[in-house]
Amino acid sequence: MTSPDGAAMEAMSGTSSVPNGAAAGSVPEQHPAVVHRHHLIVRLTHWVNALALVVMIGSGLRIYNASPGFAPKGNSFCCWPWEGMAVPAWATFGGWLGGARHWHFAAMWVLVANGLLYLGFIWLHGEWRDLVPRRGFVRDSIEMVRFYMWVSREHPRQGKHNALQRGTYFLLPYVGAASVITGIAIWKPVQLGWLTALMGGYHWARWWHFMAMALLLVLSIGHVFMVFAVDPYSLRAMLTGGYNPAKSPEERNARPFVNLFGRPAPKEDA
């Protein structure tokens, strides 16, 4: 099951430092080439986005803490059980309400410009094809969940990104757009009052904005967890662009914290 992989990799990479016969040899030798996985623009926008998100979420939580909750004064609010409960200060950024607002209203442009650069690039360059759910998405997702829950033994063969990754990377721009649009509705609730009204009014717009942030946070934490717990070698790919396919989670049969170091996947009988 491994030799066609190696051959294909080298065929696609165009060069091969290993004679064809070596494909039958030991597993680590059959993917000698470090491949170029992420374009500079993708790497750049990824880290700028990470920084912008940290600043936006931290300063947003500091702003939230100035008035933690959603009910308009003299009203109750259906959908928030933690009215009046502030976020711990260590999770906030900006120091004080005014400072956090300045950071929030400045970094929002970085987030938007960077997001547009990323989306424009993956659209024009074709990378979006790796980042959208494809036919069999539900089946592939179930396969991945079964593998992570130790129900199935072998890491499903799903390519550069598995179905769960594709789902996440596909969802992120939409959640990001939702956070930007709900944010605009809070920023200009009178001048762009039609947008605020569309969300049910100012307090609902704040709630939607918070929910979009929460979803971004959950997806981001899950993403970072999986990087360190399943595919730490992808860190290098996001820094220098280089990725060793021999150390992909598929090859290592990696579940969270298991098989982190390159080693042969258990052989499966045909």
Binding site: D5, R37, F105, Q191, E268
Partner: protein, 255 residues
């Protein structure tokens, strides 16, 4: 053997010059951890040097907000939200709610001065005799809360017209007897039809807790721009900062 769907996936794969190095990997991972811990300088107000960039962004944002500004954009409270009435928070910068002392300061009047053709000194009765507007509007606090109230008052634009405020008065400063509190506005916002010199809230004359005898209120500005305990409108060629604006909140404070 399971089908291998890696094949045929259009992924750009091109070899780098250098082969993989575990040491390099740990070096970059270590660098990332350090970067992460610097980022996680929690509860911080960010690097000092960012101040200039933040000020630049504030200036650009203000330009955009002023370009977006329209008098036809009206702040309206959703019907589903009840008026806050007594739950409307009461704020002042003095230690206790400021009360105008007729005995010490004479009868309260609001002065209209600066770049005006006819400086005015209006009593509460003078204000009551002017065209009154009643509007049920949201109040947006910089802290993020909102409250709905029904305010009755005279349009700032009516007062500007009565005083003959000059076209080159691009700004107006609203001053108070609350320990030097004031905030200056762009003239454009002050001319918005919902910008009022308010004398009554929810059908009753203003109480000292809410800015008696008169206050500024407009949903087009954040709460801190709406001076309470009003004493003076000064029409100016330049902006004149404000109590909270000078402490670092955005001067524009528009909604």
């Amino acid at each position: 053997m399971k089908p291998d769907r890696w094949h045929g996936v259009p992924t750009r794969l091109r070899p780098l010059v250098e082969p993989s190095s575990r040491r390099g990997f740990f070096r970059t991972a270590g660098g990332l951890l350090i970067t992460g811990s610097v980022l996680a300088a929690c509860d911080s107000d960010g690097p000092e040097r960012a101040g200039r960039w933040l000020a630049y962004a504030e200036k650009k944002n203000e330009g955009l907000e002023r370009a977006l500004f329209q008098h036809t954009a009206i702040g309206s409270a959703p019907a589903s939200v009840q008026s806050a009435k007594g739950e409307f928070p009461s704020y002042f910068v003095s230690d206790t709610a400021p009360v105008w002392d007729d005995a010490a300061s004479g009868v309260w009047r609001v002065e209209v001065k600066g770049l005006v053709a006819r400086p005015l000194s209006l009593s509460l009765d003078d204000l009551r005799r002017m065209p009154l507007v009643t509007q049920r509007v949201p109040h947006f606090c910089v802290e993020g809360w909102t409250a709905v109230a029904e305010f009755t008052g005279v349009r700032v634009s009516s007062i500007a017209a009565a005083a003959g405020a000059k076209p080159d008065a691009a700004y107006v400063d609203f001053a108070s007897f609350d320990d030097g509190y004031h905030e200056s506005w762009d003239r454009e916002s002050a001319e918005h039809p919902q910008a009022l010199i308010v004398i009554a809230k929810d059908g009753a004359p203003l109480s000292p807790a809410y800015g008696a005898p008169a206050r500024v209120h407009a949903p087009v500005k954040l709460g801190y721009k709406n001076t309470k305990y009003l004493t003076t409108l000064t029409y100016l060629p330049e902006r004149n900062g404000g109590y909270w604006s000078d402490k670092g909140y955005e001067w524009y404070g528009g909604t």
